[in-house]
Every structure is written in structure tokens, then in C-alpha cells.
């Protein structure tokens, strides 16, 4: 068994190939939908059409690159790097939500209530950020903590109901999404509660007070704010929690085998409550990003469906902290680069297709394995040795 074979059989390889396949699928859609291709076909036949198709795909993806990483057409470096900072800004909440959803997966819980959890946290954060006056820094920190705790509470409720009644968390989270959205809408529709004074009859919240906003990292230059730093901190926390701590160890134990966990003296019910709360707390960081990272008022769509996008991030990330981090960056880049593609006439829906295709390939590992004839390993002695060497080093360090 060679090392090359082992590398080929890892999840990272599969993720990489899935992304590649996703881009290929997207390319096909660009070719089919491009008007230039059809015209070239009518005018000059197959070869011209092929040339036009390749140009379309090349233009499309280079627009994506310009919109999300480095603007090659900018006059100065500061402007050229702006797309990258936008990618980071938009990736922040995706990473945080992805971590939360992934944590649920590892405990055997399918949390599709991210949107509701975000909104319940945002509800209280909005209260703090628009109705309470606090000094600089403290105001922001309190609003942040409240956003996280609120979300955690909404998640814990799911865990509690599951543990007490045996109801399935998928049903519970879907239903609680509706409740949270309606609750939030009611709050921002009521002038006595959180409605913006000038909003009239429409439901809308005020912009967060300046003191409560997540501060920009490069004020005046980029919109990138503290939210991305929070996402990095969340990633480190997730890593420590799941790989190093006994709490994460128990989470994983319950996820893999609740019977063995119970026999080992662990309360599976309590673990479900705690895991749902922690999962939702990470999602709450995404909520804080959305609600405190803006300078304008917002409606209930402030969640931007990140609770659902977090599922795709979690799936692509494969449960691993840094895998999720990079998956979040990738999807953040899609969000940042979409408008640039639209500018050159490629419909931004192509990116949704790419995103969907990637997750499809990830979710169907046998498909990717068969397409690329990847080896399957029944055991990985070299990896075992590597891991044991690494962990020994880690211990001594």
C-alpha cells in the first residue's frame, strides 16, 4: 500500500474532485445558456461554437476570479484586493453556521433550524443594539453575547423537546424556524417593540447603534469587519471542542453509538440538549455577523438563509474544522463574485448550480470514487503510523 494511494483515498481528495466536477457542471450550463455559442453555431458550425463556448466559460470564471479574489482590472492594489476582503466578509457567517451544523452532524443531529436560531438570537441582539445605550466596545460585546445566547436557547429548546418527547429534531427545527421568523416579524412590526420609527406599516428594524456595530478592520477602505475574526475564533474553538476536549469526545461518542455512550454512564438526553445548544451557538455567531455587521436597518430576511447554506458548507467541510473554514471561504467567494459574472452577462444562478453540484458529488461519494477510480482502503496503516507520530509530537510540544 503506497502513500499515494492513501492520499487519493482521503476525504480531502474527494472534496477537491467534487469541487472540480461542480465547476465542470457549471461550465456546461454556461455554454448551453450563452447566446454567443448559439450565434457562433449558426454562423460557422461546430468549431466556431466550441471556440465561443470555451471563451464564454473562460470569461465567466475569470469574472468570478475578479469578483472574489483579485481584480486584475483595478488601477491600484487597494482596489484590486477589495474582492478578496468581500469574500472574507461574506464567508464569515457561512463558516460560523457551517461549524454549528457540522457539530450537530457529529452528534447525530440534523439541525436544519439555523435560520430560526439566528433570528431568535438577532431578536435580542437587535434589542440591545437599537434600544439600549452602552459604552463603546461593551455595547458591541453585549449585543454579540446576546445574539449567541439567544440562538443557543432556541437550539436547546429543540434538544429538550427531543429528549423529553422523542420528537425528531428535523421536524422540530423546521417548525421552530416558522415560529422564530414570525416572532421576529411581529417584533419589528410593532412600534412599541423593535420597529423603526420611519418604517410606517412595514416591518423593519433600526440600524444597530454605532457603538454596537462590529467594527471595520480597515475603516474607510474595506467593508470587512470583526465578523471574520469571530469566524476564525469560532473555527479554533470548534477544533478544540471536537478534537481535544472531553465534551466533544462525548458528543462524538453519542453521535457514533448512543447505546455505548449510555452504558458508559453518559446521559444521552442531556448530551442532545447541550449539543443542540452549542450547535445553535455557532449559528448565533453567524446571526451576530448579519445583524451587527450592517449599517442599515433590516427585515426578517436578515438571516439570508445562512442556516441552510451552513448545511452545504458543513457537508463540503466534512466535519473537520479547517475543512469547514475553506468550504465557507469558497461559498463566500461565490457570493462575492456573483455580481461580476452578471456584469459580463453570465447569469449568477450558474454559481448556485455549481454549489449544488459540489454538494451533490460530496453527498454521493461512491459516484466521485467511481468517476475517478479512486482506491478504497480497508485499512490505512501508514496513516495510522503518521497519526500516532503526529499526536506523540503534539504531546511533547
Amino acid at each position: 500500500m503506497t502513500l499515494a494511494k492513501e492520499i487519493l483515498s482521503t476525504t480531502a481528495t474527494k472534496a477537491f474532485l467534487s469541487i472540480l466536477m461542480g465547476f465542470l457542471v457549471g461550465a456546461i450550463f454556461m455554454m448551453v445558456s450563452g447566446q454567443d455559442v448559439a450565434k457562433a453555431w449558426e454562423a460557422g458550425g461546430f468549431l466556431d461554437a466550441l471556440g465561443a463556448a470555451l471563451t464564454t466559460v473562460g470569461d465567466g470564471y475569470s469574472a468570478l476570479f475578479r469578483g472574489s479574489i483579485y481584480n486584475t482590472r483595478a488601477d491600484d492594489l487597494v482596489t484590486a484586493l477589495r474582492p478578496l476582503t468581500e469574500t472574507l466578509r461574506l464567508a464569515g457567517p457561512l463558516i460560523a453556521a457551517g461549524l454549528g451544523i457540522s457539530l450537530g452532524f457529529r452528534v447525530g443531529l440534523f439541525n436544519i433550524g439555523g435560520n430560526g436560531q439566528m433570528l431568535f438570537g438577532i431578536l435580542w441582539a437587535t434589542w440591545i443594539s437599537t434600544r439600549v445605550e452602552l459604552p463603546l466596545v461593551i455595547h458591541m460585546v453585549v449585543a454579540l453575547v446576546v445574539a449567541i445566547l439567544g440562538a443557543a436557547l432556541w437550539g436547546a429548546l429543540v434538544g429538550y423537546l427531543k429528549a423529553q418527547t422523542g420528537a425528531h429534531e428535523v421536524i422540530l427545527t423546521i417548525m421552530l424556524n416558522y415560529v422564530a421568523i414570525s416572532l421576529f416579524t411581529w417584533f419589528i412590526r410593532s412600534p412599541d417593540l423593535l420597529q423603526q420609527e420611519s418604517a410606517g406599516g412595514t416591518p423593519k428594524a433600526d440600524a444597530p447603534a454605532l457603538t454596537a456595530q462590529l467594527p471595520a478592520l480597515f475603516p474607510g477602505t474595506y467593508a470587512l469587519h470583526l465578523g471574520f475574526v469571530l469566524a476564525v475564533l469560532a473555527t479554533v474553538t470548534y477544533w478544540w471542542l471536537m478534537e481535544r476536549s472531553v465534551i466533544g469526545y462525548r458528543f462524538r461518542m453519542v453521535g457514533h453509538n448512543p447505546h455505548a455512550a449510555r452504558t458508559a454512564g453518559i446521559s444521552v438526553e442531556r448530551t442532545y440538549v447541550l449539543a443542540m445548544a452549542v450547535s445553535a451557538a455557532f449559528v448565533g455567531v453567524a446571526g451576530a455577523n448579519q445583524a451587527l455587521g450592517t449599517q442599515v436597518g433590516y427585515t426578517e430576511t436578515v438571516h439570508a438563509s445562512i442556516g441552510f447554506d451552513g448545511i452545504t458548507v458543513a457537508l463540503l467541510g466534512g466535519g473537520n474544522a479547517w475543512g469547514i473554514f475553506f468550504a465557507g471561504l469558497l461559498f463566500g467567494a461565490f457570493k462575492a463574485g456573483g455580481p461580476q459574472m452578471q456584469v459580463i452577462g453570465v447569469s449568477p444562478e450558474v454559481l448556485s448550480i455549481v454549489q449544488g453540484a459540489i454538494v451533490l458529488f460530496i453527498a454521493a461519494p461512491p459516484l466521485v470514487k467511481a468517476m475517478f477510480r479512486l482506491p478504497t482502503l480497508s485499512s490505512t496503516p501508514a496513516l495510522d503510523r503518521l497519526r500516532s507520530r503526529l499526536s506523540k509530537k503534539g504531546v511533547q510540544a
Partner: protein, 504 residues
């Protein structure tokens, strides 16, 4: 029907599960396949039954080469199989189960249960079974359920009957009856393949014994071969089937059950007034046919089941209502019956499995963090002390053999400070080498002055370990007897009868 297997070979990746296996089963012969778990017996039968495709080899029925693509083909060709875990629908009647997959229909296409009932009656009468065709499976005792399986095979005119570890769930008496049935079937010309690892049964019923080890046929011998020799053939080296132990030095009563009753969710009294003392330095074996409350007894002690009434004391402390975590903390080492379900996390490494019930504090945890340095050290120590055969401590437990998996569980439980050690079916699905090792460890634990409770359905194990034997039947203790009691008397007790002259 005559069954011939020629050069059967099956590989899974680099593992050769069956390596050029040939054997001949004559019509009317009881052919015993003897081998340890993992020797390749089940693979061979799955090849024969069409569940796997062989990489090489031929199957001949009465001299004609055949090949099966699924169990349906095999059944149509006259091969019937009684699986170790019954393939019956519990809520269906006997008749419905017997015809399932091959249902007789009336002219308008509806199910004709009368034909099915008639079939059950006819076959039952032939073998003197007393089976009501309309009885619901889940209401029947396991022994009868097994007969339904046999009837099911015969109803499809099976000429070759494969019995996979058929005695695991039977009392000694039921085992004797099954052997009678096997002889009668053979007398009528049915060929029987009898898969087992129990040497005593092989000697009692087989015409020919084929020993399989490591996927290869080692030898075909006569059942007259002495037990010790059969065991060495099966294991591949000299084995000592007796456990070396001195007379127990018993101390104070450590574990005390007083009139314990447990009623489960279905309102069944799974434990029905059990009173029991276990002293330091003795091994108490709880014998009985599976499902008579022994497992529930262990689960109740551990706190996995709520006690309805009665009292459980450990070293003078009332632990009746303690939760699992507290019971474990007060010094109970527990080896569950089903290690894959309750004892291990298959997708965890050996190291992670060692700390399964130790995540609450030292030595495995330091504050909120896992103590990685100590874990490395202790894991390597335990692997060495308990002779766990593995490439390393970071190997996933699911990659280990059954015996080594069990050693991981035993190592974990024995490495804590113990006041009581309780193990359910400690050697089920474990190779003979590991059985010897685990038995030795159990006796060492006893000799260290720790009371030991062993729950086992294997009478051989009970006799070789026990200082006292408690026999359970339907949630009650029929009697507690010395290990000098005869096998027959224990067998009667397992059926709920206390024989005369046996001191309870």
C-alpha cells in the same frame, strides 16, 4: 441430494476468506463444519446460498454443476438454511411465515392460508412437532421458533439443510431434541450441514467433521476423534480447555440483591423477585437460556433499567436508584453482552475506546481537555498487558477481530479500581486463544479479592469458571447450586424445574 463443493475461493480485497475449500456431503449425512468465529464457515455458506459470488470453485448438486445468483435460486434447487438469527416476521402467524416468499394463492389471486396451514400440520406431524399453524411467532418460545424455521425450509422441499449455530439459543434439553430431529431428517435422506464451534455437539450428532481454520479445510475427521484433538485442529495449536483455579478464598458479601423486581415498558416482569449475595473472592455464574432475565439483571445493577421494587447494595451502600455514571464511579466494572452495540464505539480508535467510561476525570481527562500524553502511555500499557493484537493504539476498533475487540472492553473495565466485576457473555464470538486469556483474567480478578459475576449461556464456560451457579428462568432465580451439580440437573433448572435432591 449429494452436495459437492470444489475449490471454493472467495477473496475480500487482500483477505482470502475461503481458500480452495472442497467438501462432499453425502445424501442423508450430517456433516459438521467446525471452526472458530472468523474461520470462514459463514462465508462458505453464503457462497453456497448465492449471497456471495465465488472467485473460483464449483458447486455440484447430485453431480450437476450449478450456480446461484441469490437465495431464491438456492431454495429452488433444494437448499434450505436456518440462520443463527431467525428470519421470521414476529407479528405473523406460523403459517404465514412458512409460506412467505412462496405464497399459495386461490384462483382469484388472494392468499390461500388453508394450504399453508395444511402444510405446517403435515410437516409437524411427520416429525412429531407440536406447532399450531395459527400461533403468532413472537408468542412462541425460541426453541419452537427454530422448528418453524426448519418447517419453513422443509415446506420448500429442501434436500439439503444448513443449520448455522443452531444451538446457541437452546437449553440442553432442547439441544438434545434438535439433535433427534436432525437424525430423523438424515434418516429420511436429507443432507445436513451443521455449523458450530461446540465440540460436544459435534461429537454427539455428526457423521463427518470438517475442520476449517483461516479459510482453509484443515482436515476431515471422524466424530470419534477425542475432544482435545478436535480443539487443537480448530485452533491450530495445543489448547487447554480447563481453567486453572484454586479453591476460592471468599470474604464479605459485597453485592446484595434483595427481592428486586423490574417491570419493563411492556409491563413484563423481566426481573421477578431476585435475591442474591455475592462475596468477595468468588465467581458467581448466572446461567440460563437467553432471554430469561440475565441480561436485565446486569443492566439493572448498572442503572440502565429502573428498579420497580427491592434493593441493591454494593459494599454496604444502597445503589438501587443510582444512575449509570454513579454506579461505575462506585467501582463496578461491566462487560456488556453485545460489545458492538453497548461496549465499543466501532468508529473510535482503541485509545478512544479505552476512555469510554473515563471521560469524567483522571487519568484520561485533565479538566475539560483529554489528557493526551497519559492516554498514549496508558493505552500502550493496556495493549501490552492484555495482549491486544493491533498495529497500534490509533487503529479503529472496527478493524480488530472479535477476540481483540473483547480484550479492549475487558482491559478497559479491569483497569479501573474495582469493587465488583460483572461480565455478560464475556467470550461470545471470541477465538479460543482469547477465551483462555479472558478466563485467566477473570480468575485473577477473583483471586485479587474482587467479587465476579459472569452471565453466560454457554454451560462449558459456566462450569469452568463458577464457584457457585445461579440458574435463571423467566426472571426468577430457580436455584443457586455448586459447580459439582450435573449438567442434566442444570439443564432442568434452565427449563424452570428444580430437580429433586438438588440443594437450592
Amino acid at each position: 441430494m449429494k452436495l459437492e463443493l470444489e475449490g471454493m475461493t472467495k477473496r475480500f480485497g487482500s483477505v482470502v476468506a475461503n481458500d480452495d475449500i472442497s467438501l462432499v456431503v453425502e445424501p442423508g449425512q450430517i456433516h459438521s463444519l467446525l471452526g472458530e468465529n472468523g474461520a470462514g464457515k459463514s462465508t462458505l455458506m453464503n457462497l453456497l446460498f448465492g449471497l456471495y459470488r465465488p472467485d473460483a470453485g464449483r458447486i455440484l448438486l447430485d453431480g450437476a454443476e450449478t450456480s446461484f445468483t441469490g437465495p431464491g435460486d438456492a431454495m429452488a434447487a433444494g437448499i434450505g438454511m436456518v440462520h443463527q438469527h431467525f428470519m421470521l416476521v414476529p407479528v405473523f402467524s406460523v403459517a404465514e411465515n412458512v409460506v412467505l416468499g412462496n405464497e399459495p394463492t386461490t384462483s382469484i389471486g388472494s392468499l390461500d392460508l388453508d394450504v399453508a396451514r395444511e402444510k405446517v400440520r403435515e410437516i409437524s406431524a411427520r416429525f412429531g412437532f407440536d406447532i399450531d399453524p395459527d400461533a403468532i411467532i413472537e408468542d412462541l418460545p425460541v426453541g419452537i421458533q427454530q422448528r418453524v424455521e426448519i418447517v419453513k425450509a422443509l415446506a420448500r422441499d429442501a434436500k439439503i439443510l444448513i443449520l448455522d449455530e443452531p444451538t446457541a439459543v437452546l437449553t440442553p434439553q432442547e439441544t438434545d431434541e434438535l439433535m433427534g430431529i436432525m437424525r430423523q431428517l438424515a434418516g429420511e435422506g436429507t443432507s445436513i450441514v451443521f455449523i458450530t464451534h461446540k465440540l460436544r455437539e459435534v461429537k454427539a450428532v455428526a457423521d463427518v467433521v470438517t475442520v476449517i481454520r483461516g479459510g482453509k479445510v484443515i482436515d476431515s475427521v471422524s466424530p470419534e476423534t477425542p475432544i482435545g484433538e478436535l480443539a487443537s485442529l480448530m485452533v491450530g495449536r495445543e489448547v487447554d480447555l480447563t481453567v486453572d483455579k484454586k479453591a476460592p478464598k471468599t470474604g464479605d458479601v459485597v453485592l446484595k440483591f434483595t427481592d428486586v423486581v423490574v417491570v419493563d415498558d411492556r409491563q413484563q416482569r423481566v426481573i421477578d423477585g431476585v435475591t442474591l449475595d455475592v462475596r468477595a473472592g468468588e465467581v458467581l455464574c448466572v446461567a440460563g437460556v437467553e432471554g430469561n432475565g440475565q441480561t436485565a439483571l446486569a443492566e439493572t445493577l448498572l442503572g440502565l433499567r429502573a428498579v420497580t421494587s427491592g434493593k441493591i447494595e454494593l459494599a454496604g451502600k444502597d445503589i438501587t436508584d443510582d444512575r449509570v455514571k454513579e454506579v461505575l464511579a462506585s467501582g463496578v466494572g461491566y462487560v456488556p453482552e453485545d460489545r458492538k452495540k453497548d461496549g465499543l464505539v466501532a468508529d473510535f480508535t482503541i485509545q478512544e475506546n479505552f476512555m469510554l467510561d473515563g471521560s469524567f476525570g483522571p487519568p484520561w481527562a485533565k479538566g475539560l481537555s483529554i489528557d493526551f500524553a497519559t492516554r498514549e502511555e496508558r493505552s500502550d500499557e493496556l495493549i501490552e498487558q492484555f495482549d491486544i493484537r493491533t498495529p497500534g493504539a490509533h487503529t479503529l476498533v472496527k478493524k480488530l477481530s472479535g477476540g481483540n475487540q473483547q480484550k479492549v472492553v475487558v482491559a478497559r473495565e479491569l483497569s479501573r479500581e474495582l469493587k465488583l466485576f460483572i461480565a455478560a457473555q464475556p467470550t461470545r464470538g471470541v477465538d479460543v486463544g482469547s477465551i483462555e486469556f479472558i478466563h485467566e483474567r477473570i480468575i485473577q480478578t477473583r483471586d485479587a479479592g474482587i467479587p465476579v459475576v459472569i452471565i453466560s449461556t454457554e454451560l462449558d464456560e459456566v462450569f469452568s469458571l463458577a464457584d457457585r451457579i445461579a440458574v435463571m428462568y423467566r426472571g426468577k432465580i430457580v436455584g443457586i447450586v455448586p459447580p459439582t451439580t450435573s449438567r442434566e440437573n442444570i439443564g432442568q433448572m434452565m427449563a424452570g424445574i428444580l430437580p429433586e435432591g438438588v440443594a437450592a
